[in-house]
Amino acid sequence: MEYYPLLLSSLLTRVGNPEEARDLCQEVFIIFLEKYDTIKNKRAWLYGTLKNVVYQHYSRKKPDVDIDEVFNDEGLTFSNGSKDARIMISEAIEHVECSEDDRILLELIAIHDYSYSNAAKILGLSRRQVEYKFRQLAKGILEYLKSRGIKDLAEIL
């Protein structure tokens, strides 16, 4: 349930139309409920299914849209010319040691640009708690990057 805002936000940025995004998100969660007991990594499963559902949606309704463009985050890295650094940051965000709720918080704030108060509403926490947790997570990610050999962030910024 806590993944719902995360997936809907992700769909909103990819589909554009809020109503269509909601329908697709519901579709993902209906399949999720059917297979709930057999799923081990819920997060990975949800994102994988989301991708499939979006592919199907575009192939049904907008066949002229280049589907690969919708998920082609990698393409941006080539334009920046720093693919390795980007992958490393993504890894740092993925692998920072935290609970599943904290990871959701991190994605909501860092990736989807949610305000602290809105993230607090979603996670059932206070604004202060969210702010504190996000600070800790940011610190953890930067430490992870240091451990991977990036001593000064100015190198990659």
């Binding site: 806590e2 209906i30 980007r86 940051i89 809105n118 600070r135 910024l157």
Partner: protein, 185 residues
């Protein structure tokens, strides 16, 4: 500490890792959670009181900082339901038993025995039923002796002509005239 946040934000922006959602859409996401959850449960055929109860327990625990899985939430819901069912069952059983006992129990009977009679009163035992029928009371009232009738007893007086006429008149008069207002013994 705030520097860490700023640097992370800068990194995310530089490498275009962010997929920002506008504040209006953020609110839209927050508002659509509950109706969408209801819709998902309905469409997957799991919409019901039990599933809502399980979700409520899950959310409640989460709110107070206890992270539990859905399975644990189901177990807690089951235990809670069993406790409530057994508790209410016990209350209903006790209530029904009390009502049955109250309806079957015979009416209370008070036995009053006077061991030593007061001077001038004969020894006797009375059975007083609390719900003595009204007819019985009326019958007791009828047994009263009209005191003024005894007073009117002529005794040794010799009946005269006018007196005879009066007696005939009195016989014709209704009976209630002879009943005394003096309370009976």
């Amino acid at each position: 500490m705030n520097d860490d946040i700023q640097r992370l934000r800068k990194l995310v922006d530089t490498y275009k890792l962010s997929r920002p959602v506008s504040p209006e859409l953020q609110q839209y996401v927050i508002d659509s959670r509950t109706p969408d959850l209801r819709n998902i449960l309905r469409r997957s055929g799991k919409y019901g009181l039990v599933s809502w109860f399980v979700i409520m327990i899950y959310m409640l625990f989460k709110k107070y900082g206890f992270h539990i899985t859905m399975m644990q939430s189901k177990i807690i819901a089951g235990i809670t339901a069993a406790a409530v069912a057994s508790g209410s069952g016990a209350v209903i059983y006790r209530g029904a038993k009390y009502i049955i006992d109250a309806s079957v129990r015979p009416p209370a009977k008070i036995d009053e025995t006077i061991d030593r009679a007061e001077p001038g009163i004969e020894n006797h035992t009375e059975n007083i039923l609390p719900d003595a029928p009204i007819e019985q009371k009326k019958a007791q009232e009828k047994q009263t002796i009209p005191v003024n009738k005894e007073m009117e007893d002529p005794g040794n007086e010799k009946p005269t002509e006018s007196g005879k006429m009066e007696k005939v008149k009195k016989k014709k008069e209704p009976e209630h005239n002879v009943i005394s207002d003096v309370p009976s013994l």
